[in-house]
């Protein structure tokens, strides 16, 4: 398992010693960039092939802080490498290219690049790359600590008037959960960076083996039933936390959705399960899973709903176990937050859609932008899935059996989540309970690990997806290419350096200036005469002692053409 090993970095002040991996197929650039980075006091590893880079990242236990990669490479598209690194290693990646076209840069950002540098790269740009490492850390910690719990509390408190106080999670419960989170964070005591933040988060390196275990677990459980806790248990890897699995699951889902899109999966189309399975197999070595078919069936329906961000995947993933007869209505306040990174907490689902007829009348929009869905749970109905509504979200006209797991508990539950993506506010929906006496729950982001206050239901199987930083927006999966309503990361800073004019002739070059005629420069013929022009008059007696031809050594790294310079020699040292 990729437990972080002790850092081999000498104790220098951050950001000195930053461990950078450079990937570029151009040997000249590789040399130059290495030199530049070393001047910044960074530790540099160079690589000319993307496949080598991945190999290094996977194998080398001495880890890296940041990856810089060129976009155009022979063996693998730079964007693909970017994806892989994000999926497996969760490192910040900076893209580089001589091509600064907006569409390319946008593509880079969409694929998760934390910056896009234009070549030729300047020293000051390289000096600043440490901020991406730092920012990532800070955001991960902030998201974990600050947002999820507070936000859930807020939502619960400020919910609709129907919510009774008892729906609120009490403070002690929240703080104890928070403590648990902190303990988990501190357990691994990652000492990678000497940054000021006090709580360190362990970073798991998703090696090929680990990922394969993950995939096996997913397959075993069944893709539609999968959830971080189940995967974690199935993987049985000591030290791996549910959060690690959850964030990885998120990325994995996105990856699959992207694959589906690439393989002709425009929304609404029939996705042949074989094709899908084959594709996924090809990429991840999965065993075929008939559950995949079901998933894509669901997502297919989702396409009919506009602007919906995560429905399909939520429908896949939100496998809330079916509640038994005594389950009370559920309250789901859905919201989605565009996270900068795969933050570990703060459940953010966004549900949009309609309920089937029997439940439609229960829908009471709060206001225009936030219609409310209400799930009616009738005690007398057995085997009633709490989120049966999801199937109807997909297509209200169909009699669609929900493909959700069953809640093991008999207690009512409340699921709350908030989604506050600025772009998607209009897609926020709330589901309100009709009946009181529902124990409140805290929702955890990313894994939708919903814990019922009274400890009865653990909906950790519901894997909701949140928008990840820069990753191709989930809606790409559903909408056609033209509608690129990306959930852009909140704080990703892309510094687009326009082609500077500084590349032009340096007028300020302060060298000796000598009176000379410029006309002679018109003659560009390759001969010694051009050098000759610069010499006013060279007394031959002065230079007889120097035989330039003999003096100049022909070294291997010095290209030299004797014939052309015989003239120069003659004029210089005649």
């Amino acid at each position: 398992m990729g437990n972080p090993l002790p850092s081999s970095r000498p104790a220098e002040a951050f950001p000195a010693g930053l461990r950078v991996l450079i990937v570029d197929d151009d040997p000249t650039w590789l040399k130059i960039l290495e030199k530049m980075l070393r001047k910044c006091s960074y530790q540099v590893t160079t690589c000319s092939l993307a496949t080598d880079a991945l190999h290094i990242l996977r194998e080398r236990k001495a880890r890296f802080d940041i990856v810089i990669s060129d976009v155009n490479m022979p063996d693998m598209d730079g964007f693909k490498l970017l994806e892989h690194v994000g999926l497996e290693m969760d490192l910040p990646v900076i893209m580089m290219s001589i091509d600064g076209e907006t569409s390319r840069v946008m593509k880079g950002v969409q694929h998760g690049a934390c910056d896009y540098l234009l070549k030729p790269v300047r020293m000051k740009e390289l000096r600043n790359i440490w901020q991406h490492v730092y920012r990532k850390k800070m955001h991960e910690l902030k998201e974990v600590e600050a947002h999820s719990f507070d936000e859930v509390i807020n939502i619960l408190r400020n919910g609709s008037e129907d919510i009774e106080d008892r729906y609120l999670i009490d403070e002690t419960e929240m703080s104890s959960m928070r403590k648990r989170k902190d303990v988990e964070n501190k357990e691994f005591g990652d000492q990678e960076l000497n940054d000021p933040s006090t709580v360190k988060k362990a970073r798991v390196v998703w090696s090929v083996d680990l990922h394969q275990k993950f995939v096996n677990a997913v397959d075993q459980i069944g893709f539609d039933k999968v959830g971080p806790k189940k995967i974690l248990d199935s993987m049985n890897v000591p030290g791996l936390t549910r959060e690690n699995v959850a964030s990885h699951l998120q990325k994995y889902r996105l990856y699959l959705s992207r694959l589906q899109k690439q393989n002709g999966g425009t929304c609404g189309g029939n996705m042949p399960s074989d094709h899908m399975n084959k594709t996924i197999k090809g990429n991840f070595g999965l065993k075929s899973s008939t559950n995949m078919q079901q998933d894509w069936e669901l997502t297919k329906y989702a396409c009919t709903i506009e602007n919906f961000q995560t429905l399909g995947i939520v429908a896949n993933a939100a496998h809330v176990s079916e509640m038994n007869s005594r389950v009370a209505p559920a309250q789901v306040i859905a919201s989605k937050k565009a996270l900068v990174n795969d933050a570990q907490l703060g459940l953010f689902l966004s549900f949009k859609g309609m309920l089937p007829s029997i439940k439609e009348k229960a829908c009471k929009p709060l206001h225009d932008e936030r219609p409310v869905m209400q799930l009616m749970q009738y005690p007398e109905q057995e085997n009633y899935s709490i989120l049966e509504g999801y199937s109807c979200l997909a297509n209200p006209d169909r009699d669609h059996e929900p493909s959700f797991d069953h809640l093991p508990s008999s207690q009512p539950l409340v699921m709350s989540a908030t989604c506050t993506n600025g772009k998607d506010m209009k897609d926020l929906y709330e589901m309100k309970p009709l009946q009181p006496a529902i124990p409140p729950m805290a929702c955890m982001i990313d894994s939708v690990s919903i814990q019922v206050k009274h400890g009865l239901v653990n909906l950790q199987d519901t894997g909701a997806i949140c928008k990840l930083e820069g990753s191709p927006s989930i809606e790409d999966f559903y909408l056609d290419e033209t509608n690129n309503q990306g959930c852009f990361p909140l704080t990703c800073e892309v510094s687009l350096k326009s082609k500077s004019d500084s590349d032009s002739m340096p007028e300020e070059l302060h060298l000796y200036s000598v009176q000379k005629k410029l006309d002679c420069l018109e003659n560009l013929s390759v001969s010694g005469t051009e050098i000759y022009q610069y010499i006013d008059s060279v007394p031959t007696s002065e230079v007889q002692s120097i035989n330039w031809c003999e003096a100049s050594e022909l070294t291997g790294d010095y290209l030299y053409d004797q014939v052309d310079y015989s003239l120069i020699d003659e004029y210089l040292f005649a």
């Binding site: 530049m36 060298l511 200036s513 050098i531 610069y534 100049s552």
Partner: protein, 152 residues
């Protein structure tokens, strides 16, 4: 030869190389990167560039010699050459490479052959300039002179 004289020659020559756009600011950046730990840095980098470019030019020649020109391959190599030339600051080479890319887009074999000829010419020119610069540098140091600082 008088070291000062040599230095003057060198300086003026370098200025002209820049004025004519053979090399640009990127070359100055490389000079500034050079330090005691790597006194041959610019020379080595330039050599890498020249060798790599020579290879690419030969490949381009080969592709255009084919009956059926593979324009995708062509574009990929021209892009690489553009990228490479930007690394050393070979401005004129880069510019003709951009023209070359336009020719490739128009899928015109004739145009591309012309472009390749231009690129090769520019390549040879900048090669000469670089070689002259290095020779002069060596000569100056050999006679105990000092190289002018490459300021911006």
């Amino acid at each position: 030869m008088d070291p000062d004289k040599l230095t003057k020659v060198y300086a003026e020559f370098a200025l002209d190389v820049f004025r004519q756009g053979f090399l640009d600011n990127q070359y100055v950046q490389l000079q500034q990167l050079q330090d005691e730990s790597e006194p041959q840095f610019v020379l080595q980098t330039a050599t890498l560039f020249l060798e790599d470019s020579e290879k690419l030019l030969n490949e381009l020649c080969g592709i255009l010699d084919d009956k059926e020109v593979d324009f995708e391959k062509l574009v990929a190599r021209v892009r690489k050459l553009t990228d490479s030339s930007a690394s050393i600051g070979a401005r004129r080479v880069k510019n003709v490479c951009m023209d070359f890319l336009n020719c490739c887009e128009k899928v015109s074999k004739e145009g591309c052959v012309d472009c390749l000829k231009q690129v090769r010419e520019e390549y040879l020119l900048v090669k000469r300039k670089l070689e002259s610069l290095f020779k002069l540098e060596k000569q100056i140091l050999a006679v105990g002179g000092s190289l002018p600082a490459w300021l911006q």
